[in-house]
């Protein structure tokens, strides 16, 4: 990917800190095309005149403060992005204090955590910020000592002139630095990677101590003086509206300050209609909510159900698809000359995010301005949506980024912030909006359910020569809903001359959104399991079968805009996982034990082997997972990266067990007792994580480990039992995790 600084009109600002230190700030243009794929509206342009701003401050006493720019929700970016700056600045990590930046994209660039983009998009600019800072301290020392800058070295926040053995701390040079012009970011000299001392070194999370002592302030913990509490009852049916409610009775209840109906907007991504109750305490608001009686206009979605969707999907798969995802050659014709033709039908359900922290948001509306404390992943977009909803300029909205207790894509949507803002406008005090777990599960932006029908024609050697993949997803009936399509190329697309992938879209009121590895977390299960069926049918080893497919002659898409699978990176991880797992050792496995493999070939290059033991009652024990990821040239914080991968593997197992069903236009499951994530006893006994280095920009780790886990486990279950899992959740196929 890369992000050449020169194309971003990058420059650095230097601001004197009133004699106490110096501030260095980077400015660059957002967003790149990858980020743009996921945002629904463009990020607002930079203001013409930008305020004084800071990424780095160095105090006279040598204390270094580095701003953490992106929203933190457990992915470790609050630690890893400042690490990048600190290394190039050449200071010791122990001297660094990290401070969470407020929303100011004119100052910090895009502040959005999603799509595994934080690392690849910030890698280059943040190294340049740090390197430019270092260059300025060197320049200040050179000027002070009257020596050429080229004779100076730096280490641990100190500039040194070896020829004369003089040293000066950054703190002592801060006043001088404030008088210097910043160098152009595009031309600063970056460290040779072999000289990294922080990047690539396992570093404890900056919040670790606060978390274990209970002192870290999560969004749900945030309060401000004079704050009142709000709950918001939405119509259980998606997009239904409140017609009337017993508001006077509610307003008479203890501690209740106000109760009112909010109309809502007409889009699934906007403000949903409902009834707000505002009270002096959360308990009082929640108690009043139990007495709330609402007459709803449930709307058309009240007729929707999972059973109805299943029937419609079966009908649509009998009809020509309406959207072409990719088409090369003539698949229908090619089947006629295939030696073998195989078909398979796969399905996966709606999923909810179920992040640990119930949704919440704090908002204060006063004199036409709004102050917002949000755990959102896309706060800039949230501000833009709030500005439109309230009819106030974005400049009148100040946004603080709060630490979120997990998000997994849920808070790329800003519906909760819209609710908090709309309620706050009616209340003469700061308002904390609190959702219950039931609100979260019943009003999520769900991962779309899908039904897939695949048909493959194999040649005499068993390799695919014709491929037809038709599926049914959700949206407005014409286009895919959010994260309900296929965003990236999948093998064997690009390797089979006659290939067709197409889809039909069911129109529905179910709100859709991004769940970790959106667009891939379900379809990888389908594709990688079906490939396994083909390998088995051809009598080939599943790894060798995939390798042969990836090494087949490349077919260029007829659409020049179609991205292609990176076969080289995919082959490398697949070979590596075969090696690490001893796949080809030929060692016999015990009865009831099986191994499966799967890979991710786009938006991350990952190969995964799962070993399972399946009991007679179809309870699955995951003995071990091996996973190899090509993370590009550098893993920033290795220990945190391994944690992230292990966690993503376990989340993938939850995806195999979960299901949100729809009945009467609403989600049936309400809380964890009906939507059990994997817990301690089900977690794999062992997980082996390995990162491959390659000459690419460091990749993000929010998503890539997840998609291949589902098919690797399902394929392992087949190897152990001879039973194919083609439908998720596992219970639909008669299996469960032990």
């Amino acid at each position: 990917m890369g992000m050449p600084a020169s194309s971003r009109r990058s420059f650095l600002r230097v601001t004197a800190l009133g004699g106490t230190g110096v501030l260095l700030a980077l400015h660059f243009d957002p967003p790149d095309s990858m980020l743009a794929q996921e945002v629904r509206r463009p990020i607002a342009p930079f203001p013409a005149a930008m305020p004084p701003s800071a990424f780095i401050s160095v105090a006279v006493d040598g204390t270094v403060t580095i701003m953490a720019k992106n929203p933190e929700m457990g992915q470790g970016i609050r630690t890893s992005l400042p690490m990048i700056i600190a290394d190039e600045l050449d200071v010791d990590w122990k001297d660094v204090t990290v401070v969470q930046a407020a929303l100011d994209e004119g100052r910090y660039g895009p502040q959005r955590s999603g799509g595994s983009t934080s690392t690849p998009t910030n890698w280059d600019p943040l190294r340049r910020v740090g390197a430019a800072g270092r260059a300025m301290f060197v320049a200040a020392a050179a000027e002070t000592w009257g020596v050429p800058a080229g004779e100076l070295t730096t280490a641990s926040g100190t500039v040194r002139h070896p020829a004369t053995n003089r040293t000066a701390t950054y703190g002592s040079l801060a006043a001088k630095v404030a008088t210097l012009a910043a160098p152009p970011l595009a031309t600063v000299t970056l460290k040779d990677p072999k000289d990294y001392r922080i990047i690539g070194t396992s570093t404890r999370g900056v919040d670790l101590h606060g978390v274990v002592t209970g002192t870290t302030v999560f969004s749900i913990d945030m309060t401000v003086p004079g704050m009142v509490w709000a709950v918001y009852q939405k119509c259980p049916v998606f997009m239904g509206k409140a017609v009337s409610a017993n508001l006077e009775q509610i307003k008479a209840m203890p501690g209740v300050r106000d109760a009112f109906i909010l109309e809502g907007t007409r889009n699934l991504g906007g403000l949903h209609g409902g009834v707000a109750i505002v009270a002096d305490s959360y308990w009082q608001a929640a108690t009043a909510r139990k007495a709330l009686k609402v007459v709803w206009d449930e709307g058309e979605a009240a007729q929707e159900s999972s059973a109805g969707f299943d029937r419609r999907a079966a009908e649509l798969l009998q009809l020509p698809a309406t959207l072409v995802v990719r088409n090369d050659g003539d698949a229908d014709k090619a089947f006629q000359s295939a030696a073998t033709v195989l078909e398979g039908r796969y399905a996966f359900p709606f999923l909810s995010h179920a992040q640990m922290e119930p949704t919440n948001c704090l908002a204060h509306f006063k004199d036409g301005t709004l102050e917002l404390w949000t755990p959102g992943q896309a706060p800039g977009q949230g501000r833009s949506e709030i500005a439109e909803l309230l009819g106030i300029p974005e400049a009148s909205i100040r946004v603080h980024l709060m630490k979120g207790g997990g998000c997994f894509g849920r808070r790329l949507d800003n519906d909760f912030a819209l609710e908090a803002a709309a309620i706050a406008r009616r209340v003469d005090a700061p308002v904390k909006l609190m959702w219950t777990r039931e609100d979260d599960m019943g009003h999520d932006h769900y991962r779309a359910a899908n039904v897939h029908h695949l048909k493959a024609g194999l040649d005499a050697s068993g390799q695919p020569v014709a491929w037809k993949h038709q599926f049914v997803s959700f949206g407005d009936g014409r286009q895919f809903g959010r994260a309900a399509g296929v965003p990236v190329p999948l093998m064997p697309g690009g390797f089979v001359a006659d290939y067709n992938m197409s889809a039909s879209v069911i129109a529905s009121g179910v709100p859709l959104g991004s769940l970790r590895a959106p667009g891939l977390n379900g379809i990888s299960f389908v594709n990688q399991c079906f490939l396994d069926e083909l390998a088995h049918s051809a009598g080939k080893d599943p790894i060798d079968y995939r390798l042969a497919c990836l090494r087949a002659r490349r077919i260029r898409s007829s659409n020049p805009n179609d991205p292609e699978v990176d076969a080289e990176r995919t082959i490398a991880v697949l070979e590596a996982v075969a090696e690490r797992s001893g796949w080809r050792s030929g060692k016999a496995l015990a009865a009831g034990v099986g191994r499966g493999v799967a890979l991710l070939e786009s938006h991350g290059w990952v190969a995964t082997v799962a070993e399972v033991r399946v009991d007679k009652d179809r309870a699955i024990h995951v003995n071990k997972i091996w996973t190899v990821l090509d993370q590009g040239s550098q893993v920033i914080n290795p220990r945190a990266a391994v944690n992230m991968v292990e966690g993503g593997i376990i989340e993938a197992m939850s995806h195999m067990g979960w299901e949100i069903t729809i009945a009467n236009g609403r989600a049936v499951q309400t809380n964890f007792h009906q939507y059990q994530p994997v817990r301690m006893p089900q977690a794999p006994a062992e997980i082996d994580v390995h990162f491959l280095r390659s000459n690419h920009t460091p990749w993000g780790l929010g998503e890539p480990m997840l998609p291949p886990v589902l098919p690797a486990i399902a394929n392992a279950v087949f190897a152990a039992t001879g039973q194919r899992i083609r439908t998720l959740p596992l219970s639909k196929s008669g299996f469960r995790f032990a």
Binding site: G74, Q75, R204, G205, L208, V211, V212, T213, G214, T215, T216, F218, I220, D221, P254, S281, Y282, W283, T287, A354, Q355, M356, E357, P358, K403, G404, G405, G406, T436, R437, R639, N643, M644, E646, G647, G648, I650, E651, S654, G657, E659, Q669, N671, F672, H673, Q674, Y675, Q676, P677, V678, R679, M680, P681, Q682, A683, P684, I687, P729, S731, R736
Partner: protein
């Protein structure tokens, strides 16, 4: 993993009430109602009638007295988080299903979202906020710290308290005791491997 599946064997969690069992049949609100509805005349030997309005509730939390004026049906979790500003333990589900709110009451791990504040008067309540002594972390906190046994950290206070209760009962838990002792807590980030390693590494928790 099937929906509605009750997790096995909660005995390791040592709750005074079988938490899962009572939630299955009654639910939090009906339990609350039974306290509110006590009639003095009908049960002369029982507790005096309190509520439904606010009443004085005196708690001992982390060794300190906390005096509150709250409705008798307020949960321990809500009383501490929203009336006493003790926010270390988190609210995750409000039905004893996730464990983020786990506190220790008289040595037993309880889901504080499913325990009434008024029930624990006269008992010793411990939360993650009071676990460290000055700057010295409790051995379990130190183990979570040393092992980076968390990601977002929202479940961590509950996991730490469940681990403390487990280790006070079983200072050297078997792998099975460890797994079962902590299966009432959810970590959605999936850091179970490191939590297992952290808890297994802890030495020096006094047997209680």
């Amino acid at each position: 993993m099937a929906p509605n599946d009750e997790h096995p064997d909660k005995s390791e969690r040592g709750s005074a009430v079988s938490r899962r069992a009572f939630l299955k049949t009654a639910g939090v609100s009906s339990l609350a109602a039974s306290v509110v509805g006590v009639e003095v005349g009908a049960q002369p030997a029982g507790p005096p009638m309190v509520g439904p309005g606010e009443t004085a509730v005196h708690l001992m939390v982390n060794g300190k007295r906390v005096d509150l004026q709250i409705e008798p049906r307020v949960t321990l979790l809500n009383a501490l988080r929203n009336h006493a500003d003790i926010t270390g333990n988190k609210r995750g589900c409000d039905r004893g299903a996730c464990g983020a709110c786990t506190m220790i009451v008289d040595g037993r791990a309880v889901y504080s979202c499913s325990t009434l504040a008024i029930e624990v008067q006269g008992k010793q309540v411990r939360t993650v906020d009071g676990l460290a002594v000055g700057n010295k972390l409790h051995p379990v906190q130190q183990a979570f710290y040393d092992h980076d046994a968390l990601m977002c950290g929202f479940c961590t206070p509950g996991f730490i308290m469940a681990s403390v209760a487990l280790l006070e009962k079983h200072p050297t838990p078997t792998p099975t005791q460890l797994r079962k002792g902590l299966d009432g807590n959810i970590c959605r980030c999936g850091t179970f491997k490191r939590i297992r390693e952290a808890v297994a590494s802890v030495k020096g928790v006094p047997h209680v």
